[in-house]
Structure formats: structure tokens, C-alpha cells
Amino acid sequence: MSHILEVKGLTTAFTGDYGTDITVDHVDFYVDRGEVVCIVGESGCGKSVTSLSIMGLLNRGGAVIDGSVLFDGKNLLGLTEKELDEIRGNRMTMIFQDPLTSLNPVFTIGSQITESIRIHQKLEKEESRKRAIQILQKVGMPDAEAAMKKYPHTLSGGMRQRAMIAMALSCQPALIIADEPTTALDVTIQAQIMKQLQELQKELGMAMILITHDIGLVARMADRVYVMYAGQMIEHAQVKDLFLAPKHPYTKALLATVPGIYDSPERKLASITGVVPEKYDTIQGCRFADRCPYMKEKCLTYEDNEILENGHEVRCCRVGEWEAS
């Protein structure tokens, strides 16, 4: 079976007053039907830009300069806006980080979802309304019928995100991109919503790309994981392999930042020293080198991906070597 989404050599650049920055640098990944793929990484490493590039939503100044995005075998980058509109919403959709600003403040939840169904599924108004209520119930909106008449600002954050998810799912897309869908919510609500999202994903057989920096979420949701750093994919593995045996020093450091429940009270929270370099497209060799405790001379020239068994990919020249040191 072919991949539902296959991204090859995606390169996105932003042109500003000070020249051009390549924010996403030859990123390759794929998503199969019905699976959940996580993309993890720190802030500012290009996760969101990757998803916006796929959706064709880059802000002014941003453009995809190389690569291809194959959705169901069709290259999205070559389509016109009109052809894209056929795919967006119907076959592929996206959930944004901040549910308040993602809903139109002057319309009720109900009218927004109904409208979306009416336009895409070409249903009658009454029929669309019924479907909207059904979907709201599905995403766990209490008293869905009353919620239809509410404006976004009168709902709590969790309810808003449920409404957003309902809107995204209203047309039963084959692929859903969730860009940090629960970052703005507190932990209990986050758990509920992610659980519901996972159930719906299984039920509807959707593929999902989950973009997050929450390692716990990755462990629970993902089938496969891509680790992104400074605009590049640096590690890709099945979720188990990644958590049991990370092959990249960055992944290991990332996993080490998660506090464990059996940690001793004296344990200090681990952090990765330094930050993602601001302008990373001109760095020679490994981009993590200046923060990496295992850095050696050869890291400064290394560029390629190494493929280990089971499709485990790593972009590190000292793979299998640094663990020992």
C-alpha cells in the first residue's frame, strides 16, 4: 500500500530584510494510512513550518523552494489554490495550537461547523446541522445541542479545542495534522482530549501527524516518531525503538529531560544546555555539534543520514560509538 502522505526533500525558506533563511532543510518523511506519526523537537526547529508548508499556508515571505509533497500520489505543491481547496478540508485538515483564535469570534460554534459540512458534503442545512451535533457529541462536548448556539469566547479552552476538532473531523479526512493541539490546555483536559482524539482516529481510520514537544504524549500516541532539530530530521524510528535505544545524542538528551515518577527527590531536572541556533542553515556539519557532549572533530563535516536496522534512521556520524564514551 502506498503512503497517504510522502514528503521528499521539502525545503522551505523565508526571505526577510536580512536575507534568506532556510528553516526546513531537505526534510523527508512519510505517513501511512491509519497510523499516528509524531514529529518532536524543541521550539524553533521548524516543526510548525513543515506542517504549514504541507498545507500551503506559509505566511508572506515564506516559500517552499525545493522538494515535493505527495498526498495520495498527487504532488500538492503543483496544485492551484482551487485544486488545493478540494483536498484541504475534505481529505486532509489541520488542528491549530490555539483554539481561541482558530474559531471565528462572530459566529456560533454550530454555524461554523454546519457551514463547513454544508460546503464540503453538499448537504442541506437541516441535515448538516444534525451531523454537526453528532460530531460534537462524538468529541465529548457536553450538551452538544446547547453548545451549537454558543460563541467561541463563552466556551472554556477545552471546549473550544473540542469544537475545533469537531470542525476538523466534520468531513472525515484521511489525514489530520495536529500542531500541538493541547499546548494551550491544562494537563487533565489534555489527557481527555488526546484520548478522545486517539479513539476517533482509530474509529475513522485517519492518519495523523502529531506535532509536539511533549515526550509523554509521543510515547502514548505515536506509532512512529521523527525527531527534528534545526530544520532537519535527525532521527526516525518506531516509537519503541526510539524510547528504548535512542541513537542520536539529541534524542537521548530530549528523553532525559522528562522527569520520572520514581526519581529521587534530589534529582535535578535535566536540560539541554544552550538553545537551537537562530540561524542554522549555514552551519557546517552536524547542527547539534555545539551542544553535543560527544562532539568530535569529524562531526563538523558530517552531513548524511545513517540507516540502521528496522528503518531506524539517524543523522549522526558517531552512531553506536558515542554511547560508549
Binding site: R60, D85, R88, M164
Partner: protein, 300 residues
């Protein structure tokens, strides 16, 4: 805070909880005393103007009395220099002035909103061309433009409505463009793009409703301005042509010194009406701005 006060507040909060947006706006609007009075005055004036054919004691354009007679019980506001009833003419003049104000505003709002939406949403070259054109219209001394236009085309009611309509839109276009620039980067517009909504839907059903409030507020000031401009043009003889009465060409009589000094009933009422209408509209605009702004939360 006393217990009683707290109870009151909870009661008030409960009362407000179930109201929709329109009710909220109306409640806030009513807090503005001046705007309330203005609204009543304006409604009275508008109905008087609408009902002019039934209210007016005499036909407005016919000679019904002696020349320039002072107010009396037959002619409440006197008669003008050729013996027409001033009160009847005033009622019909209100019709014309309000018609000019509303129609000119309607035309300029439609033009301004369309150009503003297009410029703001598409940006780039389209934005540049539209906004430079807007600047051009704005930088033109427009009374001159109006005078030239009025002398090229046959002066008259619809000429002046069209002229004012085509001159007043740059302000609205700029306002709308500014709002659209903000809104098009907002997540809800992005999520409708992601949802594959057609462009027409995004422009008119997502973006436009979010910018209606400022347009409405701005439009009230355009109504007031258009009424003033009509008065000015008619005063100069380039606007509504006699015998049709408008507030401006009734003032025209005051150009003569005798009228100005000896016959105040000819120019005080129309002048006064212009002031009242313009002030009332401006107060209403002010109150609308406060009432429509969701960030103001004064509940007193």
C-alpha cells in the same frame, strides 16, 4: 464588599449571561444618554421627513402666501422671498438631505469595503495599485473635484449623490484594508483555508463580519459629512437645484444681506436642522463605537 452588593452583582451577572451579542450592544448603547436622545431626535426627524407629504401644510414648491412674510399662525416658519411656505419646504429639504447622506454613504461604503477587502487580502501588487489610487483620491482637494464634476455633469440630486459617493470611500477602504491585514493572518482564517473553504466564503463570510463594527462607526461620520457637503455644494449653487428644496439651498437665501439681517426665519431653521442632524449622527457613532467594542466592559 457588603453581602447585599455581592448579591446584586451576581443577580446582574446572571441577567447578562443569557443575552446575545445584539442585546449586549443595545444595553451598552443605552448607557450613552446623549446618544439615546440623539437617536430619538433623529428618528423623529426621519419620520417627519418620510411623512412630509402628509404632514406638510402646503405643497413645497408652490407659491402659497405673500413674499417673505414673518412666521404667523398660517405659516409657522414664515414664507420665503417668492411666497413658498418655509415649514413645508423644510420637511421636504430634510428628505433630500437625508437621502443624499444615506445614499452617498451607501455607495462609498460599498466601494471602500470591496477595494479594502481585495487590497488587504491579496496584498502585493494589487494592494499597491489600489492603495496608491486611494491616496490619489485622498490627496485631491476634493471640494475642487466636486465643483469640477458638478460643472461638467448637470447639477442635480443624483449627480451630487454619485459625486459624494465616489469621493468619500478612501477612508473606508483604508480602514477595511488595515483590519483585513490583521484578520488574514489570524488562525481562524487559516483554519477556514485549511478547511478548504472557497475564497468568496473567506472574504465575505469570515473576514467581513469581523470588521463590520468599525465600518458601521466610520459610516455614521460619512453620513454626517455627506449631509454637510451637500449643504455646502447646494449653498454654492452646485448641488440640488431649485425649486427642489434641500437644507443647503434653503441657506442659499442667506447670501443676501437683507435676508441675513432682517429675515432670520429663512435661514435659522435649515441651519439649525443641519447642526442638529450632524451632531446627533456623530453622537450615535460615538456610542456605537463604545457599544460594539467587546473590550469595553463598563457596566454602570
Amino acid at each position: 464588599m457588603t453581602n447585599h452588593n455581592k448579591k446584586m452583582q451576581i443577580q446582574i451577572a446572571n441577567e447578562y449571561k443569557n443575552e446575545n451579542y445584539r442585546q449586549t450592544v443595545w444595553r451598552r448603547f443605552k448607557h450613552h444618554k446623549l446618544a439615546g436622545i440623539s437617536l430619538i431626535v433623529l428618528v423623529l426627524l426621519c419620520s417627519a421627513a418620510l411623512l412630509a407629504p402628509w404632514i406638510a401644510p402646503y405643497p413645497p414648491d408652490e407659491i402659497v402666501g405673500s413674499f417673505a412674510s414673518a412666521p404667523s399662525k398660517d405659516f409657522w416658519l414664515g414664507t420665503d422671498q417668492i411666497g413658498r411656505d418655509v415649514f413645508s419646504r423644510l420637511l421636504y429639504a430634510m428628505r433630500i438631505s437625508l437621502l443624499v447622506g444615506l445614499m452617498a454613504t451607501l455607495i462609498s461604503t460599498v466601494i471602500g469595503v470591496l477595494l479594502g477587502l481585495i487590497a488587504g487580502y491579496f496584498g502585493g501588487v494589487i494592494d499597491m495599485v489600489i492603495m496608491r489610487f486611494t491616496d490619489m483620491i485622498m490627496s485631491f482637494p476634493y471640494i475642487l473635484l466636486v465643483l469640477v464634476a458638478a460643472s461638467i455633469f448637470k447639477p442635480g440630486l443624483w449627480t451630487i449623490i454619485l459625486i459624494l459617493g465616489f469621493v468619500d470611500w478612501p477612508g473606508i477602504a483604508r480602514l477595511v484594508r488595515g483590519n483585513v491585514l490583521n484578520l488574514r493572518e489570524s488562525n481562524f482564517v487559516k483554519s477556514s483555508i485549511v478547511a478548504g473553504m472557497p475564497l468568496r466564503h473567506i472574504l465575505f463570510s469570515e473576514i467581513l463580519p469581523n470588521t463590520v463594527a468599525p465600518i458601521l462607526v466610520y459610516a455614521t461620520s460619512v453620513v454626517a459629512l455627506s449631509i454637510l457637503d451637500e449643504a455646502a455644494l447646494s449653498f454654492l449653487g452646485m448641488g440640488v437645484q431649485p425649486p427642489t428644496a434641500s437644507l443647503g439651498n434653503m441657506l442659499n437665501g442667506a447670501q443676501s444681506l437683507t435676508v441675513l439681517t432682517k429675515q432670520p426665519w429663512l435661514w435659522v431653521p435649515p441651519g439649525f436642522l443641519i447642526i442638529i442632524v450632524v451632531i446627533a449622527i456623530n453622537f450615535i457613532g460615538d456610542a456605537l463605537r463604545d457599544a460594539l467594542d467587546p473590550t469595553t466592559r463598563k457596566e454602570k
